[in-house]
């Protein structure tokens, strides 16, 4: 039998922007087992719900993760709106949809950049992040923030985007689409990139189901599930096809995410053409009482929000189930049998967000 050795990986590691620790049990160069140790980013954010009143907590919920900050805020307010049993105005629904898709675009571009950095293609990393800045500029123009926006409130949204701004954004996204086509060529057709991604980190359809993969990780294994098809916010008025791939490897995950960016741009165009006029929010009265769930499709997969209120201004419990949490088990599965040199790449392909997983 080959010699076994244990290599610690993380929590501080050059390719990981976030701390996670893995003990990799190796036989020569092959990983036989990976044992994760987490908790480096745990803050205890859910418990804070008992110390901040339910309106203020929107801002804490947003800070669950700085990448999907808009969607975390939105998940919390949607659950609260169910408790209050209010229907928010149409314009607010559309604005939320547009902001969600903008978040998805910037998150996927961020991931593509990190992936390029992971396989050592520095120029591509810069290109992706340069394009991502264009989305952030639009966010800044619309909401005032680059990563944390604070535009959600229970009952609607706080800021409007006037028609001229929306038209301008559509133009910007058309331009972004053109640039994106160029980098798509590199990601999907370049020989060196393919050699790093093809056949690496296979997760079969059966495994994806039993291990509970979520989001693009699951769709890249041929499973056609996307929470957006439930029709929350304005998604019921929007046409879109769920993007899947049957190749089950890192290449497929990259392909699914790239196609999702194009899809998001299309959704934004549709939303801008259909957005109704009207109020931005409805007033809510009194304190919440009862419990509710909200589900939504984040860039990394399905997230679930649960809130339980007891008639006071402090909630009793709030719970988030994040996509990265369910994706960790499939990731550990793909690590088994991998080469040590592929480990950083495999960790990246699930698009881990440790900060929302540990909260």
């Amino acid at each position: 039998m080959a010699n076994r050795s244990v290599v610690p990986f993380g929590p501080q590691h050059p390719v990981l922007p976030e701390p996670i620790h893995l003990d990799l049990v190796l036989e020569d160069e092959k990983v036989v087992e990976a044992v994760p140790k987490i908790g480096y980013v745990h803050r205890g954010l859910e418990k804070l719900v008992q110390k901040r009143d339910f309106n203020d907590f929107v801002y804490i919920a947003e800070r669950t993760c700085g990448i999907c900050s808009f969607m975390h805020g939105m998940g919390y307010v949607e659950a609260m709106e169910r408790i209050f049993n209010v229907d928010i105005p149409g314009r607010a629904k559309y604005l939320r949809t547009i902001w969600c898709e903008m978040s998805r675009i910037h998150s996927h571009l961020l991931w593509l950049g990190l992936l390029a950095d992971g396989f050592g293609f520095e120029a591509l990393f810069y290109q992706c992040w340069r394009m991502r800045e264009q989305v952030l500029d639009m966010f800044e123009e619309a909401t005032g923030g680059r990563v944390i926006f604070s535009v959600n409130k229970i009952g609607g949204v706080l800021k409007d985007m006037p028609a001229e701004m929306l038209d301008k954004f559509v133009k910007n996204f058309n331009y972004l689409e053109l640039q994106l086509k160029d980098i798509t060529e590199v990601f999907l057709k370049d020989y060196t990139v393919e050699s790093r991604l093809r056949g690496v980190g296979i997760l079969s359809k059966e495994d994806a189901i039993t291990l509970g993969a979520a989001g693009p990780m699951m769709r890249a294994s041929g499973i056609k599930i996307d929470t957006r098809s439930l029709g929350y916010a304005a998604y019921e008025d929007i046409d879109f096809e769920i993007i899947t791939s049957n190749e089950c490897d890192s290449y497929a995950r990259c392909e699914v995410r790239i196609k999702e960016i194009f899809q998001s741009i299309d959704i934004i165009r549709q939303a801008v053409s259909k957005i109704p006029d009207g109020e931005l929010s409805v007033a809510i009265k009194g304190n919440p009482n009862g419990e509710a769930f909200a589900r939504m499709e984040q860039p990394r997969g399905e997230a679930i929000y649960y809130c339980r209120a007891n008639g006071t201004k402090f909630l009793e419990r709030m719970r988030i189930r994040t996509p990265t949490f369910t994706n960790l088990t499939p990731m550990l599965h793909t690590l088994k049998g991998a080469e040590l040199a592929d480990v950083p790449l495999l960790i990246l392909t699930i698009d881990p967000c440790i900060s929302c997983t540990e909260r």
Partner: protein, 148 residues
């Protein structure tokens, strides 16, 4: 900042941040903001680093990691706390697992406020850190002169 004499290398560690400040730190390194024009390179190795950028507060789990990273860096070294979380705990101050700002475990030289700290502010902080680094270097030189 009158002049930058050396190329300072930077080590970034994510304490318990929400990622907001982290991606802004990374954004500083990319073409739009580009701190590399000051000769600053992001390294993953604490032994190569002059400036430690920390985002997020200290919790019970990462306390030892931060202490260890700091002790591995060679003198002179500067610590820059990025974001209100790293400065004093920020919005998570009252969380049960948060001890507080970075200065609870290691000395901090520059505080960059903001939630999230903007790239412009981070670059400003790093440039201030360069000044502090220079001072520390001078001081070390003078002390070495005394013993020799």
């Amino acid at each position: 900042m009158a002049k930058v004499a050396k190329s300072p290398w930077l080590l970034h560690y994510d304490g318990s941040s929400c990622n907001g400040c982290d991606i802004e730190v990374l954004a500083c390194l990319t073409p739009i903001y580009d701190v590399e024009r000051f000769g600053i390179i992001n390294t993953g190795n604490p032994k190569h680093a002059d400036i430690l950028l920390i985002t997020g507060g200290i919790n019970t789990q990462n306390k030892a990691v931060v202490e260890q990273l700091y002790s591995q860096m060679p003198d002179p070294k500067v610590v820059c706390a990025v974001g209100i979380c790293a400065c004093n705990g920020g919005v998570f101050k009252d969380c049960y697992n948060i001890i507080g700002g970075v200065d609870n475990v290691i000395p901090v030289d520059v505080y960059v406020p903001g939630c999230a700290a903007r790239p412009n502010a981070i670059i400003d902080g790093v440039v201030k850190a360069l000044g502090v680094l220079e001072e520390k270097r001078e001081k070390m030189k003078a002390e070495r002169g005394k013993t020799n």
